[in-house]
Each structure stands twice: as C-alpha cells, then as structure tokens.
Symmetry: C2
Subunit: 148 residues, 2 copies
DNA sequence: GACGGTATGTCAGGATGCTGACATGAGTCA
DNA sequence: TGACTCATGTCAGCATCCTGACATACCGTC
C-alpha cells in the first residue's frame, strides 16, 4: 500500500501535531503504567493529590480531565484499596477533601518514576533552553485558546 | 514546603502541558464544529480524504486516532449522507478506497475554515519563527516517543 | 432574614468507542 | 506450490465515559 509517503500538509499543522504528540505520550504512559495496574487517570489523581493535598472530587476531576462522575467512582476504588482517605462528613459545604495514605504515596512513587522515564525519553534530545521554549509555547497556546 | 520524594511538577511538566493544550484545542474545535453538525473525527476524516484521496478505512482510522471499527461506522454514515463514495468491490485486496463527493468537499470547506480559525486563534500571538519552533519541537517529541 | 446564583456529591440512562474474533486477500519464503 | 505472515473489512459483546437530573450547602446582594 502507498503509505511510505507521509502527509505533508498535515505535518505542518500545529493542531494536528499537538494531537499526534499528545496521543503518542498517552500511549507511552499507558504502556508503562499498565504493568503497575494503573491507568493514566489513576496516576494523575495520585500525582495531583501529592502536590495539592485536600483537593475535592470535583477539583480532581477538572485537573485530570474527566467528569465528576468518573472521578467519583475512581476515588471510591482508591479509597477501598487504601490509597486515599476522605472524611465521612464534610467539614464545610459538601466537598470531601481527599488525602493520600502512606500506601498511596508508595504506589505513586513507582508510577511517578515510570512516567518521568517516559517524559525524559520524549525530551531526550532537547537541552534546557529547548525545554523551556516548548513549555512556554504550549502555555501560550493554552492561554490563547482559553479566551473566547 | 520541601518534599522528600520528588514528584513531577505539574505546572511546568511538558507532558502535562501537552495534555492541557491538546484538551483545550479539542474543546475549541468541538465548539466550532458542533453548529455544523460534525464531530472532530468526522471533520478529520474529510480533511484526510481531501489531502490524500483513496485512503482505505484502516488508513483513515490510523490518521484520525480511532479504531477501524469506529471509522467503519462513520464511513457508512458519511456514505449514506452522500459525502464520500466507496466502490462496491475492492479493486485489489480488501481495501475499499474512499473518495470525497462534491457535497463532501462543500461540507469540508466550511468546517476547514472554522477549524483554521481556531488554530489561528491559538497561534495569534506567535510570529512565523515561533510557529516553526513549536512544530519543530512537537515533531521531535513524537519521534523520540516512537522509538522504544 | 430571604432570595438567586453557584458549586458539590451522587444517582440512573444512554451513547460512544474499544477489545476480541473471524474470514478473506496479498505478499514472502522455502 | 504450499505454508506462513500480515493487513483489511466486518461482526458481536462489553467497558467506559458522558449527558441529564436532583438534593444539598455555601455566598453574595437586597
């Protein structure tokens, strides 16, 4: 089949490249997280909690790009497995602040190392200046898209 | 607050930013395509066909990041709506080369303009050099992730 | 104190996409 | 030629996630 010719027009589209890169990264992360019995959302939830303890279900959902409903079922399984804790009763409002347990921190440590390995591979041939350029350009994309 | 175990700093993590930017772009594209009655996969399929006529179902699936099965049902609806054509019998092998109809090209024209508008907004504050840097860096990410 | 607006957690119902599997056709190599 | 490998189109079954909805709790203004 005629698949030795790459798509030339699409290859120059930043939007398409963004999708390609994001998909490649997600696939690579899934590959290293699967042996650990974790999904990307599972890992992202623990990572978020490590950096910002006490986040609510809805805040975790926004940070991991899923709905509140999906995060709710994930949190219940994480709680059942003893990786996170949530108070029975809300201290204020309805939000239940979530925190990592020692077991959760242990599991996160392994997963974080694996994910860092993927990220390092992605940036292997870039020096510090290139990495700063990449993050800076991506940030500008996000800001520009946010404003309607 | 210093942490014992270094975790990934999400705010400056290229991987996380890649996800954020990709999600923001997808959301923005969905917003402009919804009034046209199209999904991103729907649009991407037409765009791919415009640039590379005669692609098979499987090739379209790979190019739009869905499975062959999902692309198959989409192609059937596109065919039913008269936007694409596929031969009844394969000329060789099993692949059925798909082509845009005039109606498909018309619909694509509107959608392509809308999507280009989104991309322009994303890159609004970047000059040509910045855009080249962005695409170049993204390409290097993809290449680095591809090799196991 | 009452009210509207906003945010949260939670409960079904349904749409979307994927995994697994099968038969078929083409290319490869002994 | 025959066995093997790979890719393709298609079918069924299932998992996943989202849309819609509701009750509740805070916060602002009046």
């Amino acid at each position: 089949m005629s698949q030795e010719r790459p798509t030339i027009e699409l290859a120059t589209s930043p939007g398409y490249l963004l999708k390609v890169a994001s998909t490649a990264l997600r696939t690579a992360m899934e590959e290293v997280l699967r042996p650990l019995g974790m999904t990307i959302t599972h890992y992202s939830c623990l990572e978020l909690l490590a950096q910002r303890p006490g986040l609510s279900n809805s805040e975790l959902a926004r940070g991991t790009f899923v709905t509140r409903q999906s995060m709710n079922v994930l949190l219940q399984s994480l709680q059942r497995d003893g990786l996170v804790t949530r108070p029975e009763q809300p201290a204020s409002g309805r939000a239940l602040p979530t925190e990592l347990t020692a077991a959760g921190r242990r599991q996160l440590a392994g997963a974080s190392a694996a994910v860092r390995g993927v990220e390092d591979r992605m940036l292997a041939d870039m020096d510090a200046a290139d990495r700063r350029r990449l993050t800076g350009l991506l940030e500008r994309c996000v800001v520009a898209l946010r404003q309607e």
